[in-house]
């Protein structure tokens, strides 16, 4: 069976890079991944087109320049962008299409698919392949997720992804969500994992067994939280299991080692905070923001992340990290007897 790999190093990896990717890095990595045989390559700010902001972090280089750099070197891989309605707009999408993007990945929180109708419609009009991207999919039951997937299919999506943005799903949860989508929709199904519980590859395999044919992965695992499914590892595992991809494994391993690893700001490991993110069900992107806010306000980053999980924050609410950090700092100054009792870690 043929599995299609979308490499998200230059989009999800943008979070881990604190949005500091340069044109040259994008060009070299994109060239390498294209030659190594990934099917689709996503290039955008971590929070999608127009994500460069004070809320999420300002990009070092203009997004259009990074897209241009990638488009210039691709010979067979398709160029994808991420668009989160509410952050990016239809005019950002048009511009990306003009710059050479042929795959539009339109992302919403898993309960809010109906805000994507216009963007999916426009992408279809522009002749793009459209992927609907249901984020934080661990937060709702499989049937409800399937209903949202049906909406995206009805708007024209060619593929709908189950997105484990928090890296919070254990394998049966990933499996039953993909299965619910398989029963509900006729278009392709994809799976996007984060490795906060070290289950990214395992959950991607479970998704494939349930009928997903599109898998997101990131070279060296470079991505938010503990990172994504590691592309070269996934490729090796798929080879061993007899699934077909377009990837030349040795070539991809070289790109990881020689192009991606040298630019990484820190090793992509599961540390205390990223494990907390997976365990408490928090948007993986909160990782570096929470570390910064914890330092700035003198509060514990794990306590901060747990509280964000308890409040059921959704992707994009980075300002709430600040908000909760301020509150925790204020509570620290209040005598313990005046405080409300706190639960232990609660799943989001």
């Amino acid at each position: 069976m043929r599995i299609f790999i979308t490499d998200v190093t230059l989009r999800d990896g943008d979070h881990a890079m604190a949005h500091q990717f340069t044109r040259d890095q994008v060009s070299r990595i994109a060239r390498g991944l294209d030659a190594a045989g990934v099917d689709i390559l996503e290039v955008s700010h971590g929070d999608g087109l127009a994500g460069s902001s004070m809320q999420y972090g300002l990009s070092r280089e203009p997004e259009e320049e990074l897209l241009r750099a990638a488009a210039a070197v691709l010979t067979r891989a398709k160029l994808a962008i991420l668009l989160i309605p509410g952050i990016g707009t239809k005019s950002d999408l048009r511009q990306a299409a003009e710059l050479g993007a042929t795959v539009a990945r339109v992302a919403t929180h898993c309960t809010e698919a109906d805000i994507s109708e216009q963007h999916i419609g426009l992408a279809k009009t522009l002749g793009m392949r459209v992927v609907g991207f249901l984020m934080m999919a661990h937060m709702i039951p499989p049937q409800q997720l399937a209903e949202q997937a049906k909406l995206m299919e009805s708007y024209g999506a060619d593929c709908v992804y189950v997105v484990d943005s928090a890296g919070a799903m254990v394998t049966p949860e990933a499996r039953e969500r993909v299965r619910a989508l398989r029963q509900a929709i006729g278009v392709d199904i994809g799976f996007h994992a984060h490795n906060n519980l070290a289950l990214a590859v395992a959950n991607s395999l479970a998704a494939i067994e349930e009928g997903a044919t599109h898998i997101d992965a990131s070279t060296c695992g470079l991505g938010a939280g503990a990172g994504n499914t590691q592309t070269e590892v996934l490729a090796a595992v798929l080879n061993r299991l007899g699934y077909e991809t377009a990837i030349t494994l040795s070539h991809l391993m070289d790109v990881a080692e020689e192009e991606v690893k040298p630019v990484m700001l820190r090793p992509q490991i599961i540390d205390r905070d990223s494990l907390t993110i997976g365990y408490a069900g928090v948007y993986s992107t909160f990782l570096l923001h929470a570390k910064r806010a914890a330092k700035q306000f003198g509060v514990d980053s794990r306590a901060l992340l747990e509280e964000l999980g308890r409040r059921r924050m959704v992707g994009g609410q980075e300002d709430m990290i600040l908000d909760v950090a301020v509150e925790l700092a204020q509570a620290k100054r209040t005598p313990p007897s005046a405080r409300a009792p706190q639960d232990s870690v609660v799943r989001g």
Binding site: Q55, G86, T89, Q296, V314, D319
Partner: protein, 305 residues
């Protein structure tokens, strides 16, 4: 004291009904007419119970009673408002537009309402624009703002189909308001929907980049502005004093609705209806001043004074 100014509400949905409850409390405005398009609408029934004349005939229904009102609040949709606008203009009505149609100038009451009291029609930007533009203007009053960015997070349940289908309208209009009304050199807006149950209160964060950081002056100006907004949106509050990080000023805001008809979590809708009343009242006071300036014979006879 002058007569209350009679007003009409077009749109009998949640926003129109919440607006009606607020208008009933106004010392200056008297809601006398509500117009909808569905005869069995609960909003129209409620309006009748409160003593208003109602019509389910849309804009043509309005025309039958047009001479009874001076100000019209449009709480329908951008499309319906665009269709009704020429009729309202020809009828000589002052219009407060709560839809995203944006035919008239954008108005954020504590910032630029006084400049538009003569406009035949004004538009209320967006909920996020109403919540955050005053803060940008307050910072701008003491320091040039090179860049302003706002993030509004609202409960999923408080975002109606109009907002959902046209979410770009929010980001584009609000971003524009930060520049055109707030006075920032550049602006950007982000909107997020959170489906948590129980629903979250409306949250706004304002980031501003300023060249010169006078923390005391900025804090004082922001506090004063928050108090000004609070006078017409009682649930508007600063979650903390402005935060300063190098040239970045961050202001965290929360808006609890008054719970007139809409639930308290829908601060995003409350701030729109509250701003509409505030705008309507200022226009009404202006109309009253003009009436008083005219010769006595030209005035309408006093009915209730």
């Amino acid at each position: 004291m002058a007569d209350k100014i009679p007003v009409a509400i077009i749109g009998s949905g949640n926003i129109g009904t919440d607006l009606l409850y607020k208008l009933k409390r106004s010392a200056v405005l008297e809601p006398v007419l509500m117009v909808g398009v569905i005869p069995e609408s609960e909003g129209l029934a409620r309006a009748r119970q409160l003593g208003l004349t109602t019509s389910a005939e849309g804009i043509s229904g309005f025309l039958a009673y047009a001479d009874k009102v001076e100000i019209v609040f449009d709480a329908t949709s951008a499309k319906a408002h665009r269709e009704a606008a020429p009729t309202l203009r020809e009828a000589g009505k002052r219009v407060v537009d709560l839809t995203p149609a944006a035919l008239g100038p954008y108005v954020v009451p504590p910032v630029n309402l006084q400049s538009h009291l003569d406009a035949q029609e004004v538009n209320l930007v967006t909920c996020g624009g109403q919540a955050t533009t005053p803060i940008v203007a307050a910072i701008r009053a003491v320091a040039p703002v090179a860049y302003a960015e706002i993030v509004s997070t609202v409960a999923s349940r408080s975002a109606g189909p109009g907002t959902r289908q046209n979410i770009d309208e929010f980001t584009e209009t609000t971003g524009h308001s930060l520049v055109a009304i707030g006075g920032a050199d550049k602006g950007k807006a982000i909107i997020l929907l959170n489906p948590a149950e129980p629903p979250i209160l409306m949250r706004n964060t304002v980031y501003a980049l300023v060249e010169t950081v006078d923390q005391e002056a900025i804090t004082a100006s922001v506090r004063t502005m928050a108090a000004t907004v609070q006078r017409y949106v009682p649930g508007y509050r600063l979650k903390a004093d402005p935060l300063f990080d190098d040239h970045k000023v961050t202001v965290l805001l929360e808006v609890t609705g008054a719970g007139d008809f809409l639930p308290p979590y829908a601060g995003n809708l409350d701030i729109m209806t509250a701003a509409a009343v505030q705008v309507g009242e200022e226009i009404a006071k202006e109309l009253q001043r003009r009436q008083l300036q005219r010769p006595a014979a030209a005035r309408r006879p006093d009915v209730t004074a």
